[in-house]
């Protein structure tokens, strides 16, 4: 999966699931402060991404350190590389 596909898939999930306006979906956007997700949304975000990318996070606490959308793209990209 290309990085562009990851960005597209994550952005689509944010737009559809959390109703974030597409113009806000920038790599530097802060997931909580700029995109408006709270702690419950973050849990659901992981579930949505697990389904979209067909993986299962063994340690969901790893996501706790992710603050921006760009960091999330990178995190999923690394996961994909591990599973490649």
């Amino acid at each position: 999966m290309t990085y562009e596909t990851i960005v597209h898939t994550v952005n689509t999930a944010f737009a559809e699931e959390f109703e974030v306006a597409p113009e806000k979906l920038l790599p530097e956007a802060h997931i909580k402060n700029d995109l408006g997700l709270d702690s419950l949304d973050i849990v659901d975000m992981i579930i949505v991404l697990e389904q979209a990318f067909n993986f299962k996070l063994q340690d969901r606490s790893a996501v706790a350190n992710i603050t921006t959308l760009g960091e999330l793209y990178d995190f999923i990209s690394k996961l994909q590389d591990l599973h490649a």
Partner: protein
């Protein structure tokens, strides 16, 4: 709603084939079309809302506006008393549809659980409108809406809160229709217009509906102090349990409940101008309630049931029908039982309200009864 009922309209429609449960012989339901205003509810509120909470939210917003408050108005000492049959049946079905085949909860969102909890709508409304008073959630099926109002009235009368958003809400679930069918209490009619026939000799049972009824109750002196338009007053309430059984309509308890509510109001039988019956069009339930009304008033007081217009909105019915009663008290026009009415003598010798009949100034008794032997009656007085 009231304008539709005054025009003689019926809110029921055929159940689409794909929503029918095999073996269940029910063909009609009262569904709410997806309200266009749903998207106007902020996502952070809407994410925990199943249809029952959305209905309640939209009705509460109307009630607050009618009472002269915007959704942002600060409302100190204000609580919620909102009845429901259960939490979201649609979410519960979705949960088990995923959980049972998968054997795990991996794909279940956190929001699913907030929609399934029984008090999902009551707490959802309190949070949505920033209310910090007590939240009460009577879970009493078809009596829950009237209990919602009655408990709100008692909360204010006891001085615990000054204002309460109250009533009941219900979302359609095929399992509810199936339950009534299994116990022989559901209508098998295949035309919507003639499916719900309370007190009628042709009645065969309940038609399930959905919706929400919300009233805004305010302590009288405070309402007067802010020059608000008082639509009516709640002056009495009773809720009793019948030991007769979970599904055994009981005329004695029904009569006792109405008498106790009138005693709570400090009123006599002759003060009553109209009885709005629970009558859901089941053969046994309508007969028991009719006989209870006959015992108290004979043919002296007009009676009708609104289930022919709305179907049975279950937990919402007591509150939706109380709203209709208040509209009747203000217009002076009674809504008769619908559907080319053919009264059944087995429902007692009572006065069935006629088309065009006027409502005299006086008290109105509203009944709601539920499976599980729950009986509730509310007494309304015209604004004084």
């Amino acid at each position: 709603m009231v304008a539709g009922m005054e025009a003689g309209n019926c809110a029921l429609s055929p159940i689409p084939d794909e929503q029918k449960i095999p073996g269940i012989d029910c063909h009609v339901a009262g569904r709410v079309p997806t309200p266009g205003e749903v998207r106007s509810i902020p996502r952070e509120l809407r994410r925990t809302m199943s249809p029952m909470t959305i209905f309640a939210y939209l009705a509460a917003r109307e009630a607050l506006a009618q009472a002269g408050f915007s959704p942002e108005s600060p409302l100190p000492r204000t609580g919620v008393s909102l009845g429901s049959t259960m939490g979201s049946g649609q979410e519960l079905e979705a949960l088990f549809s995923s959980f049972i085949p998968a054997g795990n909860l991996d794909s279940i969102r956190t929001m699913t659980f907030f929609k399934i909890m029984a008090h999902t709508a009551a707490s959802g409304i309190a949070i949505a409108f920033g209310l910090s008073g007590r939240v009460i959630n009577p879970v009493a099926a078809c009596a829950a809406g009237l209990q919602g109002i009655g408990l709100a009235y008692e909360t204010i009368a006891f001085g615990r809160e000054d204002r309460m958003l109250c009533g009941g809400t219900e979302e359609y679930s095929p399992l509810t229709t199936a339950t009534f069918d299994k116990i022989g209490a559901a209508s098998h009619a295949d035309t919507a217009e003639k499916s719900s026939l309370p007190f009628d000799r042709r009645r065969t049972g309940i038609v399930c509906s959905e919706g929400a009824g919300i009233l805004f109750l305010e302590e009288r002196e405070q309402a007067l102090a802010r020059n608000s338009t008082i639509l009516a007053e709640i002056v009495g309430f009773s809720s009793l349990s019948s030991p007769a059984g979970v599904a055994s309509p009981d005329a004695e308890t029904c009569a006792a409940c109405m008498e106790e509510a009138l005693a709570d109001a400090g009123a006599d039988l002759q003060d009553v101008a109209y009885v709005n019956a629970h009558a859901t069009a089941t053969p046994a339930g309508d007969a028991a309630e009719g006989k209870a009304i006959e015992k108290l008033w004979g043919v002296r007081v007009p009676t009708s049931s609104l289930k022919g217009y709305l179907g049975h909105t279950l937990a919402a019915s007591g509150a939706l029908e109380t709203s209709a009663c208040i509209a009747m008290m203000r217009s002076g026009r009674l809504l008769p039982s619908r559907n080319d009415f053919q009264p059944d003598p087995s429902c007692g010798a009572i006065q069935h309200a006629r088309p065009g009949q006027t409502l005299a100034r006086g008290l109105v008794v509203k009944n709601s009864f539920a499976l599980g032997g729950i009986y509730s009656s509310l007494v309304l007085a015209p604004a004084s």
